[in-house]
């Protein structure tokens, strides 16, 4: 698979429909272009978003989460254009989102906080208690469900963030740096959870950790300077690293640097900003 091997396209017969689709997506922050002409589609599975700092990963996740407005282009989630305010509630009902800087109310218990998010997501009230317990158990905090969030460690708080994201069992899950603050054992467990979620949901994970991508992702998208630099699978990225011989300690790291260099070499005018 070559850099930017396939861009957004209509699914062929038999291929699952993309839950998330962008076409010509453009995002500006004042005078800076964060994303430019991004065409992507994501179907069920775990999709790793890789890229250097400032590449536009968080901007992409925030637009998909309907937190930020795109400056141009089209974004469809679950078949709805996110610019259509009448459909936005429907889109959000199917989203789970863990922001990079996860905020929480320290005085709430884990149960109360996750239930609060469930209320914000307008989940049916009678199903909320069980959904909360299920989500908290999924992230391994069942024994701390009635502890106040302020009494939890940083890693546990990150898991509360994941629990609130999955409480509505969303078909589209957006996780921005979800493994930040987790210890190695927790990361291993989290990857297992990601694989499980990816069976039925479209999970988009922004991360710096190539090990996470190698272990948990079914697809990888490399973003650089606001453009898609590479799309493929982790094995194809690792193979690119082996064939191109980029620097790195891990096959995917080598593929990552090789893809970046190839993209930068081919990009007209170099970086966007």
């Amino acid at each position: 698979m070559s850099p930017v091997s396939h861009l957004a396209s209509r699914p062929s017969p038999g291929e699952p429909a993309a839950a998330v689709r962008t076409a010509g997506l453009r995002v500006r922050h004042r005078r800076t272009v964060a994303l430019d002409s991004v065409d992507l589609d994501f179907g069920p599975g775990v999709h790793g978003l890789l890229g250097p700092n400032g590449a536009g990963k968080t901007s992409l996740i925030r637009v998909l989460a309907t937190v930020a407005e795109p400056s141009g282009g089209r974004v469809e989630i679950l078949g709805h254009d996110i610019r259509d305010h009448r459909r936005r509630g429907e889109v959000r009902r199917g989203l789970g989102y863990l922001p990079q800087d996860f905020g929480y109310y320290p005085g709430f218990t884990v149960r109360e906080f996750v239930a609060y998010v469930a209320w914000l997501k307008e989940m049916p009230a009678d199903g909320v208690p069980a959904a909360v317990e299920r989500a908290v158990a999924r992230v391994g905090l069942a024994d701390r469900i009635d502890a106040k969030v302020r009494r939890l460690s940083g890693g546990m708080i990150r898991r509360v963030g994941i629990a609130q994201a999955v409480v509505n069992e969303p078909p589209v899950l957006l996780l921005d740096e979800p493994t930040a603050g987790l210890d190695p054992e927790q990361r291993v467990e989290f990857r297992e959870l990601l694989r499980e979620l990816g069976v039925s949901s479209t999970v988009i994970v922004s991360t710096h950790l190539v090990e996470d991508v190698a272990a948990a992702c079914t697809e990888v998208t490399l973003v650089d300077a606001g453009r898609v630099a590479y799309r493929g699978t982790p094995p194809s990225l690792a193979a690119l690293g082996e064939s191109e011989g980029g620097p790195g300690d891990h096959p995917i790291e080598r593929g990552y640097t090789a893809a970046l260099r190839a993209h930068r070499a081919s990009a007209p005018g170099g970086a966007l900003r």
């Binding site: 922001p99 905020g103 927790q186 297992e192 959870l193």
Partner: protein
């Protein structure tokens, strides 16, 4: 972290309760309510002698405390809560909520507002309880406290909007200070018609608002607060015009009614009297329970006046000047001077003040020495001042003229005291026939 296969054994699912419950019992909201209770409690307790026992005074004191201290506190508390999402970094999560912005806003703002109102309600209930224990008459005035509670809720909601918009930590204390200044100035303004729009109004304790005044004030303040909330949260901001129109209508009604918003309480125009004494003793119906105490305090004087003629018919206690056959009962209000917590503070001094009003001549610039001597003797006979001994001692240490005057006064007192009952009644009848006259004509020799 566990996979589905490793989930904990199935247990009975515990309901987390409504999310508003978590907002209501965790975090800042209960502290805001406690702060309101403490602030108002201290402010009311410090000056309790000025309101305890009087329902109207209790209404006025709780109103002043709620408006001048409670509203700034509610503004600041709301503003602080409004900045919570920014401080906690939860804005991104809220931005992805399916539930509307207005509902999410109210989920955060209402618990604080309601806790503040609860703090106010408890402080007011304690004040009412304290007054009920020493009540002198009248009845509780509940319209104003209900209106004030609603104004506090409005202030908290408005503060929350400001807190969401202004990303500056000193915003909360500065908003409170601004609220205090605006309400203080508006409440003490006696001229501009804009004062009728202020939720803080300083009035006489004999006044009561027209029945709809608290509700019009709530509509005015509530309309503005609702407009601010909707302008901030609603996707179609034009809906904020609806409460704004309601606020404008209520505001127009308040301004156009002006002074008609308040009138003298019907109860304050009535008095209750003890007709068994001479003169009769009447106290205002607002504190009718004081009548036995006042009668008891004046009993020495009224006993000595039995059979005396030319006296006023009664001590009266109504708004305005007394009638031609009446004298004004010494002031009972404002509470905190003659009367504290339903009790006359100094019955002896009160009786002396009543005796002085009977003598009249309070408006005379100067009276002849002979008349002054007679006045002193009558004062001493009816109800001497508690300070009389000190005055006499002061005169005794004075110059020759003062010592001579004292000797004359002591002799006059002695002459009046040593008269037979009939002779004294006749002399007093002649004396009271000349009350209010500043000259010597007619005042009998003593």
């Amino acid at each position: 972290m566990t996979l589905l296969t490793e989930r904990a054994p199935r247990q009975r699912v515990r309901r987390p309760g409504h999310p508003l419950r978590a907002e209501a019992v965790r975090g800042f909201a209960p502290w805001a309510g406690a702060a309101m209770l403490l602030t108002l409690g201290v402010a009311l307790a410090v000056g309790s002698e000025r309101w305890q026992g009087g329902w109207a005074e209790t209404r006025d004191q709780t109103h002043a405390a709620a408006m001048l201290l409670g509203v700034p506190l509610a503004l600041a508390a709301g503003c602080w809560q409004g900045g919570r999402e920014r401080r906690r970094g939860t804005g991104e999560l809220l931005a992805t909520a399916v539930r509307g912005r207005t509902a999410a806003f109210l989920a955060s703002a209402l618990p604080v507002a309601l806790w503040l109102a609860a703090g106010y309600a408890v402080a007011t209930a304690l004040a009412l309880l304290a007054t009920w224990y020493r009540a002198m008459g009248d009845r509780p005035h509940l319209g104003t406290p209900l209106g004030d509670a609603a104004v506090l809720v409005c202030a908290a909601l408005t503060g929350q909007v400001v807190g969401r918009l202004v990303a500056w930590r000193p915003a909360a204390p500065l908003l409170a200070a601004a609220g205090y200044v605006v309400l203080g100035v508006a409440g003490h303004d006696r001229r501009g018609s804009a004062r009728y729009l202020s939720p803080f109004v300083e009035t006489s304790s004999t006044s009561v608002p027209v029945w709809w005044q608290p509700w019009a004030t709530v509509a005015w303040a509530g309309g503005l607060a609702a407009a601010a909330v909707l302008a901030y949260t609603a996707r179609r901001r034009a809906v904020a015009l609806l409460p704004l129109v309601a606020a404008a209508a209520a505001g127009t009604l308040l301004v156009q009614t002006g002074d008609g918003l308040w009138h003298t309480a019907p109860l304050a125009r009535r008095q209750v009297c003890d007709t068994s004494t001479t003169p009769q003793i009447c106290v205002n119906a607002r504190y009718k329970e004081l009548l036995p105490q006042v009668t008891e305090a004046l009993s020495g004087m009224t006993g000595r006046l039995e059979g005396v003629e030319n006296l006023p018919v009664r001590f009266e206690d109504l708004p305005g000047r007394p009638g031609p056959d009446e004298v004004e009962l010494p002031m009972i209000t404002p509470i905190g001077w003659s009367v504290v917590r339903g009790r006359l503070t100094d019955p002896e001094e009160y009786a002396w003040a009543a005796g002085m009003t009977l003598q009249g001549r309070g408006d005379c610039d100067e009276v002849p020495r002979r008349v002054a001597r007679a006045d002193d003797a009558v004062e001493h006979y009816l109800a001497p001042s508690p300070l009389r001994r000190q005055f006499d001692e002061q005169y005794a240490r004075g110059d020759a003229a003062e010592r001579a005057a004292l000797r004359e006064r002591l002799a006059a007192r002695e002459r009046l005291a040593s008269m037979g009952d009939e002779e004294r009644r006749a002399w007093l009848s002649a004396y009271f026939a000349t009350r209010d006259e500043c000259g010597r004509n007619g005042v009998p020799e003593l």
